[in-house]
């Protein structure tokens, strides 16, 4: 019933998150939509919104035209998509057994294990990525050992740093906890009686996993995938440090447009496309999740 008091409660509860979304999502997106339609200024940045001579709104769709006329940007998007997708998949494959191990270990050990998963957050992000530069670099003991092994079986030595491989390693490393945590939160809530029932009714370990554990964990899989895929899609620091020229992603180009080329309108166009794609993808994931439930 919509009594006045009820309506007040609704606003009190829903108000703060709504305000948050408006201030930190809707307004920035609007600013960006507007920026993507403006001309760039004479010395970079943005031209005045109202042209000085006529005093009318000075807007253009030319920036979008540029995006669609040069295939290189679309290719970069597809490549970034592929990197983010591979990262998500590798994270899932690594995180699932880890989350399951934590969820099934004794209650008193679980908090400690979760703490270990988030422990890397306690040191600086960039330092951790630079550490990978050393690990994957040509002087590293790992790479020289690997090359020695490859040499004995007659394969040319490989470089790892400044390759797409290095980017994926960095992306997986940084995003892994974001996959482990939602999976763990989901798996920990599973009723162990369900596995007993499945086993009792004739399911071996393999079938117990695929028919009971995995389908029940899908909400955790979707949450983890969203938390990994979307940030991985737009990231620039990791390809910057580990990727060299070959491993560049769309995030690097956006950063370049804003900071180096100072072409803000075109940077906004690329950001807009990225945002639209991320939202569309999140919507698609939610739709798939709903379909698989009914």
């Amino acid at each position: 019933m919509a009594t006045p008091q009820n309506r007040l409660h609704k606003w009190l509860i829903g108000g703060p998150p709504l305000a948050y979304l408006v201030v930190f999502f809707a307004i920035p997106v609007l600013i960006m939509v507007l920026a993507s339609l403006r001309n760039s200024g004479d010395f970079g940045g943005l031209a005045p919104l109202f042209s000085e001579e006529s005093g009318t709104l000075d807007l253009t769709t030319e920036n979008y035209g540029r995006f669609f006329s040069d295939l290189i940007y679309t290719e970069l998007f597809l490549k970034s998509f592929a990197y983010a997708a591979i990262t998500t998949l590798v994270c899932l494959v690594i995180a699932y057994p880890l989350a399951m191990l934590i969820a099934r270990s004794a209650k008193k050990h679980r908090d400690l294990l979760v703490l270990l998963v988030i422990l890397p957050f306690w040191s600086n992000f960039l330092i951790r990525v630079y550490a990978w530069m050393i690990i994957l670099g040509p002087q590293s003991v790992f790479v020289s050992a690997l090359n020695r092994v490859l040499g004995t079986i007659g394969i040319e030595p490989v470089t790892l740093l400044y390759t797409p491989f290095a980017v994926i390693v960095g992306l997986v490393y940084v995003h892994l906890p974001f996959m482990v945590l939602p999976l763990y939160a989901n798996l920990e809530k599973h009723d162990p009686a369900l596995l007993d029932a499945a086993q009792d009714l004739g399911a071996n370990a393999w079938r117990r996993f695929w028919r009971v554990t995995f389908p029940l964990s899908l909400p955790g899989v979707y949450a983890g995938a969203a938390l990994v895929f979307i940030p991985a899609l737009g990231i620039f620091a990791i390809p910057d440090i580990l990727g060299g020229t070959e491993g560049i992603m769309i995030g690097n180009v956006i950063k370049q447009q804003f900071l180096d080329t100072r072409d803000w309108p075109f940077g906004s166009v690329l950001s807009m496309v990225l945002t639209v794609m991320a939202v569309a993808l999140a919507g698609l994931a939610a739709w798939v999740a709903r379909q698989s439930r009914t």
């Binding site: 009686a193 007993d196 029932a197 086993q199 399911a203 071996n204 029940l216 439930r293």
Partner: protein
């Protein structure tokens, strides 16, 4: 040879013995109940039969085959869990079809068999619902249908009615009896509810502290409990301490502490001098202002100390001259009267010599 043989099975958790040297043999087609108070080891025993746990000593033999080392999924035994453990992401039909899929039954047959199974438990038309859209009674029936669909040799049920309200329980009990008779599968049923055990079972094993105290038909368990624990746990029972004075044929004389000499049935040819208790059900104790004299009846005078009005019956607690108390049960059957005596009334209590029997310690 019995279908299920439990031979000297023991299970310890650290220093604690949860199941202590239990031996049972359960026949094919039987409705067998494990009855006992909470924590007596019923679930532990059931889990060993299902294969989730292994005995520390002893063996379990199903249909002549030792079950040692055989995992639950390879045993022809299904369980109805207390929480039902229905798969929340599957519909009723998918839940019931699960064991068939695990047994790699031809997919073309599954639909028909699921339909039949749901019909058996009166759930036709519920096949597309999810477990969270069912009532407690419906969930219980899905769990039973799922456990029975591929006809296991043995069905284990761990307190399957504990979550149902009293009224529903009664109708589900009748259904379970009917279903068991119809499918002819051996049921091993666990409960701590003695009236449920008496109503359902062909035979009952009464357990206490991990041991089996008595295995018998319900009427024997109730009528001739073998020791104080069984007498006290099943229904109401007067346990009057005493010592055997003399035995003669089918009768014996017992000296009851604080009451005097009484005559009782001599069933196990107990010897004079044995100490123990006379077990006497309250409904076998007559109560009246003036009971007729009879050589077969033990009669004593006392005062009504208190009474419990239970609707259909009233239990009177009568204090005898020596201070001992005896419970007598009287049906409230005469029209217009709700009780016959008040606290403080002088009354006589009496029971036939064959109404009770002696339990030696």
């Amino acid at each position: 040879m019995a279908l299920l043989e439990i031979r000297n099975v023991t299970r310890r958790f650290g220093d604690f013995t949860a199941v202590d040297n239990v031996s049972l043999s359960i026949e094919a087609g039987e409705f067998f109940t494990l009855l006992g108070p909470s924590g007596c080891g019923k679930t532990t025993l059931l889990r060993m039969i299902a294969g989730f746990d292994a005995p520390d000593a002893g063996s379990i033999v199903l249909d002549g085959k030792a079950m040692t080392g055989i995992p639950p999924e390879a045993r022809n035994i299904h369980t109805v869990f207390q929480s039902y453990a229905l798969f929340p992401h599957m519909t009723v039909a998918q839940n019931v079809a699960f064991p068939l899929k695990m047994a790699n039954v031809d997919p073309g047959q599954i639909g028909k068999r699921v339909e039949e199974a749901l019909e058996d438990v009166r759930l036709t038309g519920m096949d597309k619902r999810y477990p969270n859209e069912l009532s407690g009674g419906q969930k219980q029936r899905v769990a039973v249908a799922r456990a029975l669909i591929n006809r296991p040799k043995l069905l284990l049920l761990d307190e399957p009615l504990a979550a149902l309200d009293a009224k529903l329980k009664e109708s589900v009990q009748l259904e379970l009896i009917g279903l068991q008779k119809e499918v002819g599968i051996t049921f091993v049923y666990v409960t701590h509810d003695q009236s449920e055990a008496l109503a359902l079972s062909h035979r009952i094993a009464v357990m206490n502290h991990g041991r089996v105290e008595q295995v018998d038909e319900p009427s024997k368990i109730y009528g001739f409990p073998r020791n104080r624990f069984v007498a006290d746990f099943i229904g109401q029972c007067n346990l009057l301490d005493g010592e055997i004075r003399a035995c003669a044929g089918e009768r014996m004389t017992i000296a009851l502490a604080g009451i005097g000499d009484v005559v009782a049935l001599n069933i196990e040819s107990d010897a004079p001098g044995l100490k123990g208790a006379l077990a006497l059900r309250p409904e076998k104790v007559a109560i009246g202002r003036d009971l007729p004299k009879d050589a077969d009846v033990n009669r004593f005078t006392g005062k009504v100390h208190d009474f419990l009005y239970l609707g259909d019956v009233t239990i009177y607690i009568v204090e005898l001259a020596g201070g001992m108390r005896i419970e007598a049960l009287l049906p409230n059957s005469s029209a217009g009267r709700t009780k016959f005596f008040e606290a403080g009334d002088e009354v006589q209590v009496g029971w036939r010599y064959d109404a009770g029997h002696f339990l030696n310690d």
